[in-house]
Symmetry: C2
Subunit: 131 residues, 2 copies
């Protein structure tokens, strides 16, 4: 397991908070299998230097990932990716997805979309994700 710093990149002027961009990237890397259980995330200082971002911003992202159970802080080592793929989503994660889905559906209903319309939108999103 080597150095994963090159896998990351941020766009400070995108409007999306940097720490959130990092979270999304870690989740994406895990989902795509490029980051696996046991891998170590780059250290906050190292990645901060490479991305020209304050290391506290990286720390916030890593801390949030730890709170979500995605990684674990092992003392004297760093942030280690947890075996989340095999165990399936945590209740916490599932709740998040449910909330997001509710928002989408409610908005759709408010706009007058029918059940079929919503289903079409849902299918389009799924296809877009390559599922």
């Amino acid at each position: 397991m080597g150095d994963f710093t090159t896998l990351f990149s941020v766009n400070p002027s995108s409007g999306v908070p940097i720490y959130r961009q990092l979270i999304e990237q870690v989740l994406g890397l895990i989902a795509s299998g490029r980051l696996r259980a046991g891998d170590e995330l780059p250290s906050v200082r190292q990645l901060g230097a490479v991305l020209s971002v304050n290391f506290m911003t990286i720390s916030k992202a890593w801390a949030r990932l730890e709170a979500d159970g995605v990684v674990l802080h092992e003392r004297g080592r760093g942030m280690v990716v947890q075996a989340v793929g095999g165990a399936g989503p945590t209740p916490q994660q599932l709740r998040q997805v449910r909330e997001l889905m509710d928002q989408a559906v409610v908005r759709g209903v408010q706009c007058g979309l029918s059940r079929a319309d919503l289903k079409a939108v849902f299918r389009a999103s799924v296809e877009e994700c390559g599922l």
Copy 2:
């Protein structure tokens, strides 16, 4: 068509911005048919007085609804609900729903949910909305 002020209520301490609560309520009232094309929204001052909210906050909500094409500002009359139910959702609204749906699906994928899992979550949300 009379006075619709009694249909509205806000909770300033809910964490959700007041103006957004009002937008949601208008959209909901239209979706449920209690507010129809041609109906006039309460005036910003009247509703502001009833709800003990600054009328500029109401104005922001109404202005946003107008920007979304939900209502139209008719000079010397007020905010009039547009015929949006029959015409179907505007491209703008549809884009919003798509974005929300994408967020939900992407997050689900990142959490390792399968297509079937996502479908289940989607169906649950739809049921919850009474569709």
